[in-house]
């Protein structure tokens, strides 16, 4: 059985496409000689050289703009913004430029770029380096957003993200980098196709990113009580596989949605609202939504643990059904 960690899977996908296609290049702070701030791009500088693995100054607007302008003129850039939090420094280039150029120009331009956005809490990095900003991205027409939870998904989704002719926001949870997983194949995973990480018949749990693993842990705990959770990882937040969730609800009639976002106006609210608007008849109980507390991410370890959602929150919610 072939295994790989999440970090290597992301790198492997980038390398595969860079070997096949000269128009693919990688840019960002520390991605070159240094090998990436989390070691993600180790060896790429040596293999592809400084022209294709480009170190940039700390200038988020110019980095994202470099992707927008080069994607509009024939390249397929990948940018690494180090932290999703740093995207905010150059957010105009994502929201007003990358996302809207095709539309504003009447469909006469392509924007094949990938923004790698390491995200998530649990590493003691406090309020400006721990956020989950899915809702910011999925709110914007013109962007696609993916969020792998396993090495296999990271590999397959990155291949598809690079192949896509639209701007793809690639969320990667920094606490998953060391997670090792089985690699069954090296194929692209189409955007918009969810994955049932564990089949069950009692409650549907929709989870993203690191929360997929919390959901699986909750499933283990509840299995002892004879309760079978069905854990669905949408993998792609836009396009979004609502059909998979609906099909699961036909069976379970109960839904828990867990994401690592601050709960207020989170992407999880969109999933919940869609279930309420379109699949209300499938429900036997109100949808339960679990997220981080509505506070900035705190620094002190016990506080951060208290702030983040976890398996026990799912267990408690399911026991109340």
């Amino acid at each position: 059985m072939k295994t790989m960690n999440y970090r290597d899977a992301i790198r492997e996908a980038m390398c595969i496409r860079m070997r096949e296609d000269d128009s693919v290049l990688l840019m960002g702070e520390d991605v070159g000689f240094f090998g990436g701030s989390s070691g993600i791009t180790a060896g790429m500088f040596e293999e592809f050289g400084e022209k294709r693995v480009r170190d940039t100054p700390i200038s988020e607007s110019a980095i994202i703009g470099a992707a927008v302008g080069s994607a509009a003129t024939g390249l397929r850039p990948i940018i690494d913004l180090l932290f999703v939090d740093f995207m905010l420094v150059g957010i105009d280039q994502i929201v007003n430029q990358a996302a809207k150029m095709r539309y504003m120009f009447g469909g006469k331009i392509s924007m094949p770029m990938v923004a790698r956005l390491p995200c998530g809490g649990g590493a003691g990095l406090a309020a400006q380096h721990s956020q989950s900003l899915e809702a910011w991205l999925t709110h914007i027409p013109g962007l696609k957003t993916v969020y792998p939870s396993t090495p296999q998904d990271a590999l397959g989704l990155m291949l598809s993200a690079i192949d896509d002719d639209n701007p793809v926001m690639f969320l990667e949870h920094r606490l998953l980098y060391d997670m090792v997983g089985e690699i069954v194949d090296m194929n692209p995973i189409p955007l918009g196709v969810g994955d049932i990480k564990r089949a069950g018949s009692d409650v549907t749990v929709v989870a993203t990113g690191k929360m997929v693993h919390e959901a699986l842990r909750a499933a283990d705990i509840l299995a002892n009580d004879g309760i079978a959770l069905e854990v669905i990882d949408p993998r792609s937040l836009y396009p979004f596989d609502m059909d998979m969730i609906a099909k699961s609800l036909e069976k379970t009639r109960r839904a828990v949605i867990i994401t690592e976002e601050n709960k207020r106006v989170a992407f999880s609210a969109e999933i919940s609202a869609t279930i309420a608007e379109e699949y209300f008849d499938l429900l036997d109980a109100p949808v339960v939504r679990i997220g981080a507390l509505n506070t900035p991410a705190p620094f002190s370890p016990p506080m951060e643990t208290y702030y983040l959602p976890c398996a026990e929150d799912i267990v408690a919610a399911v026991r109340k059904f």
Binding site: S59, A62, A66, S70, A72, N96, R102, M104, F105, P141
Partner: protein
């Protein structure tokens, strides 16, 4: 490129096209035929025409919210521009962009832009793309004095500098960032001085002198094509109209406006062309007539074109997804 009759005649034609297009847009806007907002380029024609006369069709330009002049000067067609201003299906953007988002990628026009300073970042990408592909294209990035206070200006000049990108940064200093005069919005007098902060040459030029703009740009374009990196050119000019149509303009002293109107770049250029025998009075008249005809055709084309079917609102967001109409 050496300045010759063909080039000067094209420059004059484009300056008149811009002026006529803007005057027509002004009237149509006043008549309520153009929705939204309108930022006219009137008075700055020598900059767009002088700069773009140095460019090939495969060179890129990145434009601004005051972009009509750049688009005309880079070869944009009046009828598609006018149709876009009126929100018609036949417009450059099929009616989805309007005045602030006109683009024609086939002519290297990477778009007007409604966000002040955003084009600077995008020009870095276009310049990178040229340098990466190893062609001898260049990218001209137009922006205003107001943009030069945005972070994007500083990030872009720095990155273009360290990567020696083939970009010509053309600052159209019309003296005002929205309603704030340059004296109030920055302490430096010459924006070209800011080039020094990034190790790239900065040059000041009279932006109402088409020949001076042409010659200065020629040097910068040559430098860029040679792989010697970017140049910052500051063109001192003035907008004849407000920041936007409907701007009461109370922030500009009447005497200042009068003085600049007297320095109108078009009669000045026409006078120069005749004085040096580059165009005769008859040739000038013929060009003016040609422009008048083009404008008439553009108006008819735009007015007779249909509006886009509203159902098309969901198309062109993605290359491969049509958003479902039911999502409302």
């Amino acid at each position: 490129m050496e300045l010759n009759r063909d080039i000067t005649s094209t420059m004059y034609l484009r300056m008149q096209r811009i002026r006529a297009f803007e005057n027509t847009a002004m009237t149509l806007f006043a008549d309520g035929k153009i929705p939204g907002a309108l930022h006219l380029y009137t008075g700055e024609e020598a900059v767009a025409a002088g700069v773009c006369a140095n460019l090939r069709e495969d060179d890129y330009i990145v434009s601004t919210h005051r972009g009509h002049g750049h688009i005309v000067a880079k070869g944009g067609e009046l009828k598609y521009m006018m149709a876009e201003l009126l929100g018609k299906e036949t417009g450059y953007c099929n009616g989805k962009g309007g005045s602030m988002h006109i683009a024609d990628v086939s002519k290297g026009i990477l778009g007007a832009n409604g966000i002040v300073g955003a084009g600077l970042s995008i020009s870095v990408g276009a310049g990178l793309s040229i340098s990466y592909r190893g062609t001898d294209q260049v990218c001209v990035c137009f922006f205003g004095d107001g943009s030069s206070n945005q972070g994007t200006f500083h990030e872009a000049l720095n990155m273009a500098g360290i990567w020696k990108l083939p970009i010509v940064f053309v600052c159209e200093n019309n003296g005002y960032g929205a309603s704030m005069s340059q004296a109030k919005h920055m302490l430096v007098r010459d924006i070209a001085d800011r080039g020094a902060a990034y190790g790239i040459p900065g040059v000041v030029v009279d932006g109402n002198d088409a020949i001076a703009v042409y010659n200065t740009t020629a040097e910068a374009v040559t430098r860029a094509r040679r792989g010697d990196g970017p140049t910052l050119i500051e063109c001192k000019t003035y907008r004849h109209r407000g920041q936007f149509e409907g701007d009461p303009g109370i922030y500009r002293p009447a005497a200042e406006v009068e003085a600049w109107l007297a320095k109108d770049p078009i009669p000045r250029f026409a006078g120069f062309l005749q004085e040096f025998g580059l165009l005769s009075a008859q040739e000038i008249e013929a060009i003016d007539q040609q422009v008048a005809d083009e404008i008439r055709e553009a108006i008819v084309f735009a007015e007779q074109s249909p509006y886009p079917a509203v159902e098309k609102i969901v198309e062109d967001i993605y290359s491969d997804i049509i958003e479902e109409v039911r999502v409302r």
